[in-house]
């Protein structure tokens, strides 16, 4: 009797062709499981987490900006108290109410300090906005929504060339911004010159 122990031993020890076939089947099955698991479970989860992470980073950037803004606001409030003189100049340069009498008084003062004679001075502004006694505004002076507005007028003064030049320089360098939009200079009597200016000035009012 011929007994082939070698092939029997191979089968028994799991190294036979059948075991190999089983292993290949298992490997194939595992490959399929890994592929399906990766494609349908892991990858969608990763995309979701990446998206969450991205949103989180956006929020972090927003929060950082918000914190900076809050910090800047607090610094600004501190600066308001520390720069009262500058704020006073700011209020003069860009008044928070359009009172044409203030501008007329200023121009008259500048004319007097330059030695010119004011022949005529007219300042007007558009709209029918109260310039005094507005109780809502008085209760909350900074609560109103403001826009840049302009009052305009004409100034007619008489003086020598030097006086007129001095007056013009004072107008230009005034703390309240006065723009000369048109100018006419003509000869007058006794060597005097007539200067006619069209001026405007801006203010920030409700």
């Amino acid at each position: 009797m011929n007994v082939n122990l070698s092939s029997n031993l191979t089968a028994a020890s799991g190294f036979g062709p059948k075991a190999a076939r089983n292993s290949i089947a298992q490997a194939g099955l595992l490959l399929v499981i890994i592929a399906l698991f990766s494609f349908f479970v892991v990858m969608p989860k990763k995309a979701a987490v990446d998206s969450q992470q991205s949103q989180f980073q956006d929020l972090q950037a927003q929060e950082s900006k918000m914190a900076d803004t809050l910090n800047a606001v607090n610094q600004g409030i501190t600066a308001l108290d520390a720069n009262k003189d500058n704020i006073s100049h700011l209020d003069q340069a860009m008044p928070l109410k359009g009172q044409n009498t203030d501008l007329e008084l200023l121009i008259q003062y500048l004319a007097a300090s330059s030695g010119v004679t004011v022949g005529n001075l007219t300042i007007s502004k558009q709209g029918d906005v109260p310039v005094a006694g507005d109780k809502t505004l008085l209760a909350n002076p900074y609560g109103a929504s403001r826009t840049l507005q302009t009052m305009s007028g004409t100034v007619y003064v008489i003086g020598t060339f030097d006086q007129l030049e001095s007056f013009l320089k004072k107008l230009e360098d005034s703390g309240t911004i006065i723009n000369v939009t048109a100018m006419s200079l003509t000869g007058g009597t006794n060597g005097a010159l007539n200067l006619q200016l069209t001026v405007n000035s801006s203010y920030l009012a409700p």
Partner: protein, 196 residues
């Protein structure tokens, strides 16, 4: 006696045995990959939860900051001041300094000439009525504007008319003329840091 050939197959090569092992090794490697994939998924799950928690915490912090920002005392005043500064910058940038035109015109004008009137027109044109003692002086007056030292800010000088007159300003006869010229707007425009 039966012949038992115990060694018949043992003569096969070592490569054949390795080939027999390969599927098993592959299975084990794939098992490791599967375990790693599961571990990665677990980490993603944990990370997702962690990010969600952090996001909620950050959102709460932002809400607090937002509330704090809107309840800052004097916020309206600060915003008004900022608007004032912003608008003022625009107004200052367009501010015009006409007096510089006076100085420059005086510098380039012939000493024997005098002006009766001056009108500045918004498009960069200046119109002047002037007097000089003679035609020769008028010629010199105009020649000045051909010199580079004197025509930096003025150009295109046009004499529209000139007449001989008995001049009160000069106390004798003279030539009265009307001219128009262009001026350089940069002469009268605002220049930061006082460059003019």
């Amino acid at each position: 006696m039966p012949q038992i050939n115990l060694l018949k197959q043992n003569t096969s090569s070592a490569g054949h045995t390795a080939l027999a092992f390969a599927p098993k090794i592959l299975v084990r490697v794939l098992l490791v990959v599967l375990v790693l994939a599961l571990g990665y998924y677990g980490w993603l799950f944990y990370r997702g939860g962690s990010v969600t928690k952090d996001t909620a915490s950050l959102q709460a912090k932002m809400d607090n900051e937002s509330n704090a920002a809107t309840s800052v005392p004097r916020l309206n005043e600060l915003l008004t001041r900022q608007l004032q500064i912003k608008d003022l910058q625009g107004v200052v940038a367009s501010h015009i300094y006409w007096s510089r035109l006076f100085s420059e015109l005086a510098r380039v004008t012939l000493k024997t000439a005098s002006y009766d009137s001056m009108q500045v027109i918004g498009d960069g044109t200046i119109q002047l009525n002037a007097e000089v003692p003679s035609i020769q002086d008028l010629d010199k007056y105009l020649q000045v504007f051909d010199l580079t030292d004197f025509n930096k800010y003025f150009s295109n000088v046009r004499v529209s008319q000139f007449t001989k007159i008995q001049s009160a300003a000069l106390g004798t006869t003279g030539i009265q003329f009307q001219i128009k010229m262009q001026y350089d707007p940069s002469l009268i425009s605002y220049s930061p840091a006082g460059t003019n």
